[in-house]
């Protein structure tokens, strides 16, 4: 089942991302189609327009590109580090296992969001920096799961026989362990991915996001000004935000 979960989650992200790329205007100029302000959803503007008259659908797609990009970079970093470290801990000597897992505990104890705020303070809001901070702080979750899986595989017959015929540990890791831990790791990655979308939005909401990029969090923050009057300015970005992270998380939770 979990094999499917990973595939479903991956497919969701892929489709969302393609949709955003397709709908969002491209280029450094960040220009969106414009018409009158506060137009409610209609055929011309399926999600309405914002206070500056920008098409909300295009803004949402543009924001999605940012949000999903941050989440993808985060997830790739976390899954890469998590699998490598998890397998190393599972296959390595006890002292290495201990060292790596204690390090994982240490990293988990760091307040990632505050570190991201510190980065924004020192370097200005930047979505790449955010993805780096999140990716480098979320790998332990994946590493733990991968390690547990690796440990149980290590004592299975086929791995033992591989060891018996003299296969090197690295080869064992790639040939036998990796294919088996992938689905589980992907599930955990779904949670990291959803968490990254939310973290980006939280930073944008308090005004520490990347000010030059539209993101879902930034759209929600902008829509908040018109909270009780122009529902489509915040409802659609909020729906997109919660929807994307929920879909991935739900798909991942179906063990």
């Amino acid at each position: 089942m979990s094999r499917h979960a990973g595939t479903i989650a991956g497919a969701i992200v892929g489709l969302l991302y393609l949709g955003c790329l397709f709908l969002a205007p491209s280029g450094a100029l960040q220009s969106l189609p414009m018409s009158g302000p506060f137009l409610p959803p209609s055929l011309a503007h399926p999600l309405g327009t914002d206070d500056l008259g920008r098409d909300m659908l295009a803004a949402l797609a543009q924001g999605g590109r940012t949000s999903l990009m941050v989440a993808t970079v985060t997830a790739l970093l976390a899954v890469g580090l998590g699998m490598a470290i998890g397998m190393a801990a599972g296959l390595g000597a006890p002292w290495l296992d201990d060292l790596l897992m204690r390090t994982a505990d240490m990293v988990l104890s760091l307040p990632a969001l505050l570190v991201a705020i510190l980065m924004a303070s020192l370097f200005g809001g930047s979505s790449l920096n955010l993805a780096l901070v999140l990716g480098l702080s979320r790998w332990p979750t994946i590493a733990r799961i991968v390690r547990a899986e690796t440990l149980s595989l290590r004592h299975s017959d086929f791995v033992r026989s591989s060891v018996a015929v003299g296969t090197r540990p690295i080869a064992i890791a790639f040939r036998h362990i990796l294919p088996h831990v992938c689905p589980t790791a992907l599930t955990a990655t779904g949670i990291v991915f959803g968490g990254a979308i939310l973290a980006e939005a939280a930073l944008a909401f308090v005004g520490l996001g990347d000010p030059s990029l539209t993101s879902w969090g930034q759209l929600i923050a902008a829509g908040y000004t018109f909270f009780d009057r122009v529902w489509w300015m915040w409802a659609f970005p909020a729906l997109a935000l919660c929807g994307a992270s929920a879909l991935v998380a739900v798909a991942a939770s179906r063990e």
């Binding site: 000004t225 018109f226 009780d228």
Partner: protein
């Protein structure tokens, strides 16, 4: 169990809060933490919104901008216009009980205002020869030349008077009284919790009989404009000094609304785009002209200001009728095609993605919507903006200390006389490390001369002519691009009356109707 206790506590709280006795208290929302409460060393809006109620100027300005008595009860100008003599109100005491005297005034101007208050330092200090205190009740300004703007530069926002006995011989920036201010004003300082609240209480010994009427004045720091409005609607807050233009409509039937062009942050403000002339790209005049043709200012007025103001027609605010030059900016009609041609001519061809250049735009977070719209409009001519929202202190450091910016969005308040807030934008002596001075680093000897001439004449017609000549020159040189004159709206709940939002001492006469 826990939930039950929780509910009980909650219900009791509801009951209690509705029973609590009504005292004459006004809760005022401010958008930012004031940082400290010394209004003589800063021109920051959040600080003056709070601190001006603790202090007094020599004069107060009424809604029309005319001088009324404050610490000075009367004044006379010598025939040659170079000596102005103020008679001070008798029996004024500082909040700590020490008597107020002319020495305090002399000290504050010479040692503090002329050194640290951005507008007064640039706009008044150069005109003053000396401030003398011949006796405890008299202050004499001796001027280098006649300075007709003087009276408009002496209110609490431009020139609050500090207690000499607490500041003498110390660095005003590091004085402990900045956090526990002692003034002569209508309200006494009681407490300050950073990022939360400032509480002021009535000064029972105030020198104006019968004032103030409120017993407490509580300032709450509420950064989100939306939360401010919700708090007013929910009766948690009584007065909003600044209502965001987008919120005016929703308060129409919930509160008393008053439009003004002045307030604790300054008077007659123009949203202005400053070009850093030290950056090669922006030093080229055609590039700045292209900005003027590319930016749709009417759209800014409508979409961001919600119509609260006017498109700027001249470098000087239209409310200063005798000095403004209507039509000065007529040559720059909205014409993106021409802007594109100018940029081609300036040697900025379009790149692969259609962009010619990427520029950094620095601004206060509150101006983000202007910046977003500007980015949208400039995209049409191939200019990409990198937005950098910064809080006032960090903004001042980047723009005026480090000069690390391409474009800066600044709300320049002209004041009620161009000497107050216009000179500092253009005069070459105002380039440097003083916040909100000459951001463009613009230098033009003719403009300097015209300012010096206008500042020293007593003849309004002649002064107006000099300012208009100056405006013709800067409209041609474009060190700035003047976007929109912004009007402010203040709001208070219907059961309060007599707030004066155009003044720093906005609550001096206010009271709650019983």
């Amino acid at each position: 169990m826990k939930i039950r206790i929780f509910l009980a506590v909650f219900l009791a709280g509801v009951v209690l809060s509705t029973l609590s006795a009504r005292a004459q208290v006004a809760v005022v929302a401010v958008a930012g933490d004031p940082g400290h409460l010394n209004p003589a060393i800063s021109t920051a809006g959040p600080l003056h919104a709070v601190a001006d109620s603790i202090f007094n100027g020599l004069v107060a300005l009424d809604r029309e901008g005319n001088a009324q008595p404050d610490l000075a009860t009367s004044w006379t100008v010598s025939p040659d216009g170079r000596e102005v003599r103020f008679t001070l109100a008798p029996g004024v005491k500082w909040h700590d009980g020490k008597p107020f005297s002319a020495e305090d005034v002399k000290f504050t101007f010479e040692e503090v205002l002329f050194r640290f208050h951005a507008r007064t330092r640039a706009g008044l200090a150069p005109a003053v020869d000396s401030v003398d205190a011949p006796d405890a009740g008299t202050v004499v300004f001796r001027l280098k030349q006649p300075h007709p703007a003087l009276l408009k530069q002496l209110n609490v926002t431009e020139a609050p008077i500090l207690p000499r006995h607490l500041y003498a011989g110390s660095d005003p920036n590091r004085n402990e009284a900045n956090a526990r201010p002692v003034g002569t004003g209508a309200f006494r300082f009681e407490s300050y919790k950073r990022d939360d609240s400032v509480v002021l209480v009535r000064n029972d010994n105030y020198f104006k009989p019968g004032l103030p009427k409120l017993e407490r004045l509580v300032f709450r720091v509420i950064p989100e404009a939306n939360t401010q409005v919700a708090a007013l609607a929910n009766r948690e807050v009584d007065y909003l000094g600044r209502v965001a233009p987008s919120d005016v409509a929703r308060l129409k039937d919930k509160a008393t609304l008053v439009d003004t062009t002045s307030g604790p942050g300054g008077a007659n403000c123009v949203m202005t785009l400053a070009f850093n002339l030290q950056r090669p790209t922006l030093a080229a005049l055609p590039v700045r002209q292209a900005f003027a043709h590319a930016l749709n200012r009417r759209q800014m007025l409508e979409l961001v200001q919600f119509g609260q103001g006017r498109v700027a027609e001249a470098p000087i605010h239209s409310a200063i009728e005798w000095a403004t030059l209507p039509g000065a900016l007529q040559a720059y009609d909205l014409d993106p095609a021409r802007a594109n041609a100018l940029l081609d001519q300036a040697g900025l061809p379009r790149g692969a993605g259609g962009e010619r250049a990427t520029l950094d735009l620095l601004m206060f977070p509150a101006f983000a919507r202007y910046a977003e719209l500007m980015r949208q409009q400039l995209a049409a001519v191939g200019i990409a903006l990198r937005l950098k929202p910064l809080d006032p202190a960090a903004f001042a450091t980047s723009v005026f200390t480090q000069r690390d910016f391409d474009l800066a969005l600044i709300s320049y308040c002209n004041g009620v006389d161009p000497e107050i807030g216009v000179r500092r934008m253009y005069h070459s002596t105002a380039i440097g490390n003083v916040p909100f001075s000459n951001a463009a680093a613009y230098r033009n000897a003719d403009v300097d001369r015209l300012f010096d001439r206008a500042g020293s004449s007593t003849d309004t017609a002649a002064r107006g002519e000099a300012y208009r000549e100056m405006e013709r020159i800067v409209a041609r040189d474009l060190p700035y691009w003047w976007l929109v004159e912004t009007d402010f709206t203040s709001a208070w709940r219907g059961d309060f009356a007599d707030f004066a939002p155009w003044s720093g001492q906005f609550a001096e006469r206010a009271f709650q109707k019983r």
